[in-house]
Amino acid sequence: MSNRQAGYRALTTHRLFWPVVVLVVLLAANTAYRPSFLSLQLRNGHLYGSLIDILRLSAPLILVALGMTLVIATGGIDLSVGSLCAISGAIACLHISRQPDQNSLGGVLTALGLGLGVALVLGAWNGLLVAVIGIQPIIATLILMVAGRGLAQLITEGQILTINAEPYKAIGVGHLLALPLAIFLALAVAVLIATVTRRTALGLIIESVGGNARASRLAGIRSGRITFLVYVLSAACAAVAGFMMTANVSSADGNAAGLWVELDAILAVVIGGTSLAGGRFHLSGTILGALLIQTLTTTVYAMNITPQTALLFKAVVVIAVCLIQAPGFRARFARRRTPVAASATITEQPKAQVSA
């Protein structure tokens, strides 16, 4: 095998090769449909354009998906993140709305602290159900997914709570160095999580627990603590995402904020190459997955695809991504053309990362 062939194979079998291809195809399709898609304008020192919008809007999804990555790496799942977004956003907005001066920085910071605090408590609740009581993660977090919506509506008293606080609004639409502030926030959290998991042994221990919980226990790992911790981390990420979502529209809607974001987050994690069975996790893959999904959402709107078919369109693209990522599917597809290439694919990537 020549070097070039080997290089080509290393590229095409890379975990993130196909998600990147699909992302590029989506961007190209958008550009073909509307040539101004790629253009950027500088106004008042801020960059504007579709690409910037995609980055800004994907920030909350990136946050939620990062937390979800850790949960999934332990072999669990967190369905309650959408509700947590709504709750934390609602609490922050409620606190701000009661301030005499909504623009006071102190009031906004207190609001953020309150929202984050409540989310941490609820994350601990999830962790308690899963790690201590031993309820299956999908059921344990389903409880808060459903009940949390009710809680968020209680906080806003069923109304859409509108605020007018510039410091809070900045979280969603503010700018820093010509780019949206939200991107820097998401990036900061990503760097923080990457540092905490990869600079300490937390990442290794999470992967060990997700890879083989029984073996990990017998190696002396307190897997319960680790499991508990990832649900709290996931809730914290959801809280920050919730602030962004509500700040974006300067209002808290208990019903709509973060609706179905848990599903997008799970998709982002899977597209990023982390197995739903737990084990190895890939934070950069998750970020790419989140960008892909947000691009898809933006594409749906930009191309004037009717709302009735929008979800279907999204589903088709996601299925396509998952299928071409699945080594088994690729092997079958390749075997039809060249049997030799197919067997090579199987040996290089023996583990299916996506259950189609």
Partner: protein
């Protein structure tokens, strides 16, 4: 009394899996109206033979003749309809359905597509009466004991005009009374002319019910015997084999003696430690630098003892002292805190984390002990990994390879090294040499001897008596989930005496009963 024509003949059966010769030219006969026990240690090929018989596997070589005709089943359904029915260890029935529904599920008597419930109940009653069972066929299966459920499974199996009934470890979860009940049903069926193939790990049960015994070892036929002509000791000898001595010559060493360790301070001292339905209360003292062997057949409670001493299972009886201080071993974390390490016999499920690299697997126990906030520095990792990869000759010597890609022997070495890195005071090794090649085996044996010389205590669990004899200062013998005796390994002790204890549990010295 047995008819001259066997109902089932398997001739020259061979079956290989990648890297393993599971069955090598095995012959097996089954006569109508007999209970025939299939015996052998783990990995002897019992389950492979059963799976060949019931059509789960096809054979590489050999023929199967049923009732005079050569057959070749391609699946369990086909075997069942030809009259070969199987009841497995785990009852795979639906406990939420009624007894009658369970017997007829998938083949309910129907008329115009509708189930004929009355007919189904009537036929279920008739079937159970044939087994001499008086059950309410409308009651939920789950309301009956496991033994009864097992018998309903048998009723389901023999309904299909079975000529051969395979019972694969049906008694492993039954108590003595339930076993007696099951045996009554088995005798009933035998008298009806059905040939029963019976697999169990309990020697008493073999002698309680089987007419003949076939012994397999390492995929080969050892022989077929009438139960009345094969004493228990002979059976154990045939199951374990004697040619293991060959292996030991690879590394001749003077036999170790208890005397030089008897004076050491006790490291771990347990009194009457036990766990219901796992192992009867036992007492055991392990001294610094002492190698304690744990011998016994599969299912005799060896693993259960090891797990209790590591806190992998929680004891519900007895007391523990470490270095003379009373304590408990409730969790592995607690045991690790006392300087105890444990390599499970189930390497894949309870040992390695296949997806992670050799390096990560090696440092896992050390990292767990330090907590996640204090990662093992990269330089120290490299140092440890390099040292142990070299010391234990782990191959391939690439620390970044996923450990799942390594061979079984090398995975075992990684596991051992994982604990050695933590510098334990007591290392519990459950079957560390099973299923690995001879080279790796001797290396591990040498390592155990070296550890002991360095003052580390080792609890060495193994089914291979020669290995236990050569390494241990003291040998505890398990039989039917009870520690029947503890023998000091002086010059007078030999494999025969241990086999004697395994077979009959003779002298109960050392353990109050």
């Amino acid at each position: 009394m047995t008819p001259s024509q066997p109902v089932l003949t398997m001739t020259g059966i061979s079956k290989s899996f990648p890297g393993v010769r599971a069955l090598d030219n095995v012959d097996f006969r089954l006569f109508p109206g007999e209970v025939h026990a299939l015996m052998g240690e783990n990995g002897a090929g019992k389950s492979t033979l059963i799976k060949v018989l019931t059509g789960v596997y096809d054979t590489d070589h050999g023929t199967v003749t049923l009732g005079g005709e050569q057959v070749s089943f391609t699946g369990p359904m086909q075997a069942t309809s030809a009259g070969v029915s199987t009841v497995y260890q785990e009852v795979n029935l639906c406990t939420n359905l009624s007894v009658a529904e369970n017997i007829f599920i998938g083949r309910e008597p129907r008329r115009f597509g509708a189930v004929r419930w009355g007919e189904m109940r009537r036929r279920a009653r008739a079937l159970l009466a044939r087994l001499d069972l008086d059950l309410d066929v409308n009651a939920q299966l789950g309301s009956y004991s496991l033994a009864v459920q097992q018998m309903v499974a048998i009723a389901r199996a023999i309904d299909i005009k079975a000529r051969v009934l395979v019972l694969d470890e049906p008694t492993s979860s039954l108590d003595a009374g339930e076993v007696a009940q099951l045996f009554r049903v088995m005798r009933h069926l035998r008298d009806d002319g059905i040939a029963i193939l019976f697999v169990t790990h309990f020697l008493d049960q073999v002698y309680g019910i089987a007419d003949r015994i076939t012994v397999l070892r390492n995929g080969q036929l050892v022989g077929e015997y009438a139960t009345s002509e094969l004493p228990q000791l002979g059976l154990v000898e045939k199951m374990i084999g004697t040619e293991l001595r060959v292996l030991e010559r690879l590394d001749e060493q003077p036999r170790r003696d208890l005397a030089d360790r008897a004076e050491g301070p006790p490291l771990l001292d347990v009194r009457e430690l036990g766990r219901r339905s796992a192992v009867a209360p036992f007492s055991l003292t392990i001294r610094e630098g002492e190698v304690v062997g744990l011998a016994g057949l599969l299912g005799s409670g060896r693993t259960e003892v090891a797990r209790l001493l590591f806190g992998a299972d929680r004891a519900d009886h007895g007391s523990v002292r470490v270095n003379g201080t009373p304590t408990t071993l409730r969790t592995p974390v607690a045991a690790v805190g006392h300087g105890i390490g444990f390599c499970s016999e189930n390497r894949r499920a309870e040992g390695i984390v296949a997806e992670l690299s050799v390096r990560e697997n090696l440092i896992l126990a050390l990292q767990a002990a330090r907590g996640w906030l204090r990662p093992v520095p990269r330089r120290r990792q490299d140092e440890l990994v390099e040292r142990y990869v070299r010391a234990l000759r782990i191959r391939p010597a690439d620390p970044d390879l996923p450990v799942g890609n390594l061979s079984g022997g090398n995975q075992q070495k990684v596991l051992l090294a994982r604990w050695l890195i933590t510098e334990p005071r007591l290392l519990i090794l459950d079957e560390p040499t099973r299923g690995i090649d001879i080279g790796a085996k001797t290396e591990i044996q040498r390592l155990v001897a070296r550890l002991s010389d360095g003052g580390t205590a080792v609890l060495f669990v193994s089914a291979e008596l020669e290995e236990v004899l050569r390494l241990s200062h003291k040998i505890a013998v398990m039989r039917d989930r009870e520690m029947v005796t503890q023998l000091s390994n002086d010059q007078s002790l030999d494999a025969d005496r241990i086999m004697q204890s395994i077979a009959v549990g003779a002298q109960r010295e050392g353990t109050p009963s």
